[in-house]
């Protein structure tokens, strides 16, 4: 952690090198290497079972890799040694494939819980919501178009609204790096376009990794694309570049 600055492995925000993990003999991630720079937005595509979600599990501490390095913040932090909570508090936020919000809380409370603040027990027992907090919540509600729903139970929201609420919660956390897993699954075309706008907007002052199946959406994001296949990187580059790669075509269309 306290390495000499000239002696660093990486200057990237997130650096994965030679990462492997297997479940009961099945190699979900196989010698995966990936680098995300500060301020970068990256789209990750790949067929089902390519290891996209497992990769996110590894970055966020849910799954420990069998081998390999997962370094964060210029290589200063070894993420494999930390648990989910610590990693979240380092500024890595995650949106799940299946939208998970706190269904028994109001939309507003969901955002309140996500707001960047001390996560300790005592500060939260004696918590006072300040004007600044309220303003920030209003702002996020505005961005995610949920202002009208602020007092509803999150469980009563539509699927798309839950997706947006979850993105809103990511905004509330104000992480350095956002990991967004299939943000437009189950959305209408209009919603998809709006989400793309929203993510591009967020990417202005955050690093974002988006995992998505929807090619139109990835095209709309207009960022560098990484193709995962069988747990490792198959191709990397602009979308039209990788989609013309023969190996990628083979993987997607079959032999």
């Amino acid at each position: 952690m306290d390495q000499v600055s000239g002696n660093k492995i990486t200057r990237a925000l997130l650096y994965l090198s030679g990462v492997s993990v297997s479940f009961e003999g099945f190699r979900a991630i196989n010698n995966l290497s990936l680098t995300i720079d500060h301020g970068e937005m990256r789209a990750i595509i790949g067929p089902n079972g390519a290891g996209k979600t497992t990769m996110m599990d590894i970055i966020t501490g849910k799954t420990r890799p069998d081998e390999g390095d997962v370094l964060y913040n210029d290589g200063n932090v070894d993420l494999t040694q930390l648990d989910e909570t610590s990693i979240a508090n380092l500024g890595i936020g995650r949106k799940f494939q299946k939208p998970t919000v706190f269904e028994q809380h109001t939309v507003e409370d969901n955002l309140l819980l996500s707001l960047k603040a001390d996560r300790g027990v005592w500060p939260n027992l004696f918590w006072r919501t300040t004007e600044a907090h309220r303003e920030r919540i209003d702002e996020i509600l505005e961005i995610t178009k949920l202002t009208a729903h602020r007092s509803r139970m999150a469980g009563a929201l539509s699927h798309g609204q839950k997706q947006w609420l979850e993105i809103g919660m990511l905004l509330g956390q104000d992480p350095k790096l956002l990991l967004v897993d299939e943000p437009v699954a189950g959305m209408t075309d209009a919603e998809t376009a709006q989400t793309a706008d929203l993510l591009r907007d967020i990417a202005k002052d955050h690093s974002v990794v988006v995992v998505e199946h929807d090619m139109d959406f990835v095209r709309a994001l207009d960022v560098k694309v990484t193709v995962l296949h069988e747990g490792s990187v198959l191709a990397e580059g602009r979308l039209d570049q990788v989609t013309s790669d023969e190996r990628v075509i083979e993987v997607y269309l079959g032999r």
Binding site: T85, A88, T100, L113, S114, L125, H149, Q173
Partner: protein, 377 residues
């Protein structure tokens, strides 16, 4: 959602506190000042029985904190109640023996008090232990269990193992807690005879006040942002971790707090019923108290207390008359009915009914509408 506010927070809670305040004052008055032949006289047995119910209500309240609000189903919560009870029992026992080793130690030929009995001749020390012993056990147990992410039924089972291990331990004579018979034959508490009507009345009022205090503390906890984190953990534990909350710390906190409240409940229970024995540790007791909370309404504080009083009232009616053989049928039936048909419990179900449909003309009071604004649709 207005009705939710009424039954959970404001009106319901106020009524609850009001009733307790009235009981705390009126029961002693009716017991002591009203002549025995009067219709309004409250008999000794009624004072004792209702005092017991109120201590159970406090116990249920504490269990609701962890189960109703944080989703931790402890099947060993009775252990903390019993430990609090034993701490109080030790004080009462030393009052009786005048600080010398109590009768059962004499039978064991123990000349001196074992070290873990030291200090229990002081009420203040005993009261501290009533909080600390359950609290420390819960903290240590919870710290390790929650850190290892033992959740769901696994946690339920190991809490059950915990109370089972204590149950076996306290049966052993050489533990120095009276073995099978437990601690009983108390004479005085703080210098007053435990049998005296005045003492009984005072104990009853103390229990009612403790329940009010417990309710207010629990209410403050669940309404704080910490309370929201607890509910978040209950509904989506892993999500809560991913936004940076240290779930194990929150669980350990609420588990320890609940254990301390249960300890207080146990300490109030023992001088009123006059005995504490290893039976209180039996796993079946701990499971039974879960259904008090379930029947009254998990996740509603007043519901937990109400459930404890109601079910124990039924239990008294059933087990004292010709219905005695049917009590287990009734109790078993309650377990099934509550889980299958009434998962929100009595108060929870009442709170989720949209009362405006029945009283369409009347508008909700403004202040409540402000506290919990109406949903958009």
């Amino acid at each position: 959602m207005i009705s939710r506010a009424i039954f959970e927070n404001n009106v319901g809670g106020t009524i609850f506190l009001g009733i307790l305040a009235i009981l705390a004052v009126m029961v002693p008055v009716l017991h002591l000042a009203v002549p025995e032949d009067s219709f309004f006289h409250v008999s000794t047995s009624t004072v004792v029985v209702f005092g017991k119910y109120l201590s159970f209500a406090l116990l249920a309240l504490s269990l609701d904190l962890i189960w109703g609000y944080c989703g931790i189903l402890s099947l060993g919560h009775g252990a903390f109640f019993a430990l609090g009870g034993y701490a109080m029992g030790m004080y009462l026992k030393l009052q009786t023996s005048g600080g010398a080793p109590p009768d059962f130690m004499v039978f064991l030929n123990w000349k001196d008090l074992p070290w873990y009995w030291w200090g229990f001749d002081h009420l203040s020390f005993a009261l501290l232990m009533v909080l600390f012993i359950p609290g420390i056990l819960a903290f240590v147990f919870g710290y390790f269990a929650f850190r290892s992410r033992v959740t769901g039924v696994y946690l339920s089972i190991i809490t059950q193992l915990l109370t089972y291990a204590l149950w076996l331990s306290f049966f052993r004579n050489d533990m120095g807690f009276g073995g099978n018979n437990g601690l009983t034959d108390f004479s005085t508490i703080a210098g007053y005879s435990v049998q005296a009507p005045e003492t009984r009345a005072a104990l009853f009022s103390t229990t009612a006040i403790a329940l009010m205090a417990g309710y207010l503390i629990a209410k403050a906890v669940v309404e704080s942002k910490l309370g929201k984190v607890l509910v978040a953990i209950r509904d989506a534990e892993s999500r809560t971790r991913f936004i940076g909350y240290r779930v194990e710390a929150y669980k350990t906190f609420v588990f320890t707090l609940a254990a301390m409240m249960a300890g207080v409940a146990g300490a109030l229970y023992v001088p009123q019923v006059g005995i504490i024995n290893p039976g209180e540790f039996h796993p079946a007791n701990s499971i039974e108290m879960v259904i008090w909370v379930g029947a009254g309404g998990r996740g509603t504080l007043t519901g937990a207390a109400l459930g404890a009083v109601l079910i124990n009232y039924f239990k008294t009616i059933f087990t004292t008359g010709f219905l005695a053989p049917y009590w287990l049928f009734a109790l078993g039936g309650i377990f099934i009915l509550v889980t299958v048909f009434l998962p929100k419990g009595i108060v929870g179900t009442l709170a989720s009914v949209d009362w405006r449909r029945w009283i369409p003309a009347k508008r909700a009071p403004a202040d409540e509408a402000q506290l919990k604004p109406e949903p958009a649709e």
